[in-house]
Symmetry: C2
Subunit: 284 residues, 2 copies
């Protein structure tokens, strides 16, 4: 079955899903995006994702194409047309088509909204096999990574460097040697003190929706937790490292730059939080 995409009000076969070359998303990366995980017809953490979309939109001054309720209708219609109940929903919003000039165009063009969906298997019942290696890399991204923009070239290069090292993710650290986040995930560690840590939100990290949801699970589990930055050194000495994102759920990092993390197997806390994640997924 041909994949169907949503493009500015129309449902089109993906091969016909096009935008003008003067769409500012194409020439300037002047746009934002969201990725939702759909599980059996429901969008996981959808309130968080729609809120973040609104925030990103406001931060770069994009006009709104439609409200969250209408967007939800479009997404579900697109899932129906693609017969996808469990998978990834990719939504992108750009400033639209205008003669190329850096400044915001006037009059304001219609923002360009494109959405695609594709199937993705359900998460495994246990973490066996659901783990990966990561590399560490200097964070060379811009100063506003809290905006989920489509300026993703540094992330692309970081993930490609990870792939070349037979790893999945690149964990980034700033000039002070503090970990920011993964190229496409939030990063968590459990230290020798058994304290779970993830960096607090600032302009250098994306406010992860899965991160926010897992934070609630951390409280429910009563884990010893601190929301604070940690160093590359602390990362290397961690008993457990795991990442969270809409596509990786809760995923243990079992090797860092080729060196096993802890005993090289998914850790106790990752297992507990993964179980919580699965429970939330199934409760709906």
């Amino acid at each position: 079955m041909a994949r169907i995409a949503y493009v500015n009000g129309r449902y089109l076969p993906l091969t016909d899903a096009t935008v003008n070359i003067e769409d500012r998303g194409y020439q300037f990366g002047d746009g934002i995006y969201e990725v939702f995980y759909a599980y059996r017809g429901r969008l996981m953490d959808e309130t968080l994702h729609f809120a973040r979309l609104e925030r990103s939109r406001g931060e770069i001054g994009l006009a709104s194409p439609m409200g969250a309720a209408a967007l939800r209708v479009v997404i579900h219609e697109l899932m129906r047309r693609n017969r996808v109940e469990t998978g990834l929903v990719y939504l992108q919003l750009t400033r639209g088509v205008a003669k190329r000039d850096h400044v915001f165009p006037g009059p304001v063009p219609r923002p360009a909204l494109t959405i695609t969906v594709r199937p993705k298997p359900e998460p495994p019942e246990a973490l066996d096999g659901w783990s990966a290696g990561a590399i560490t890399l200097a964070d060379e991204r811009w100063g506003r990574c809290d905006i989920k923009s489509i300026n993703l070239l540094p992330n692309v290069l970081a993930r490609e460097a990870a792939k070349q090292a037979v790893a999945l993710e690149a964990i980034l650290f700033d000039k002070a040697g503090m970990v920011t986040e993964g190229a496409s995930s939030s990063v968590w560690i459990v230290g020798a003190d058994n304290v779970l840590r993830t960096r607090g939100l600032d302009q250098h990290v994306l406010p992860g929706c899965t991160r926010a949801a897992v934070l609630e699970d951390v409280a429910t589990e009563g884990l010893d937790f601190r929301e604070e930055a940690f160093s590359l050194e602390a990362l290397r000495q961690a008993r457990e490292v795991f990442i969270t994102s809409a596509t990786s759920f809760v995923k243990p990092i079992t090797a860092l730059d080729g060196v096993p993390v802890g005993n090289g197997a998914p850790g106790l806390i990752a297992n507990r939080l993964y179980a919580r994640y699965l429970a939330r997924l199934k409760e709906g």
Copy 2:
């Protein structure tokens, strides 16, 4: 007359000039670009622009769609079809269309090459009127601004901030308070010591083609010059400030954050270098 664009081997009316929404340029900003100034049918500093295109391409590992000689043929054919002899040529190259995933796609898709041209008036005979105001702004761009990538959202936001302040350009400074460059230009100052300065090339600035050409003029003029970084404070106290780029040529900045630079008029050295620029333009 409808504008004609070049899109992956075809010459199309601009309204029909489209790319797939899964072009990596659209979803990741995974591409590079060049802007040439064409003057009476000739591409200014074309050797420098083609060399920079090759360099950017290599830095992010893009496949080559064609060599510089073939590209030159396409550009001139596009100028002919648009009846543009003097204007701007915009050329963009992306990693092509692939199912969305950060890592480089395999097999390697055909890179997407798009080119547009549009008329731009010839530069004025003298600098009267050819000047502008600038604002100063923290440089929040990524760590590889030496690559001419289409990840331009920070540049867009900076230029928009300038426009809101009724200025043309945003002059950027790093965390150490040193000027990097303009959001879309190289920056030069003449200090109280009468020394002309522009920052040396590193990963935080674009190797400007017009900058390189003007450097030769600086030598020809025998100006007292140092290629070295200067501070925001030095910028504010400069006698003269000017920018260079393919679209601004040599353009005096006569006000900074609303405060006149020097006596608020184009300076002596900018005038000399602008005259040199015009001479080169006309000599061909």
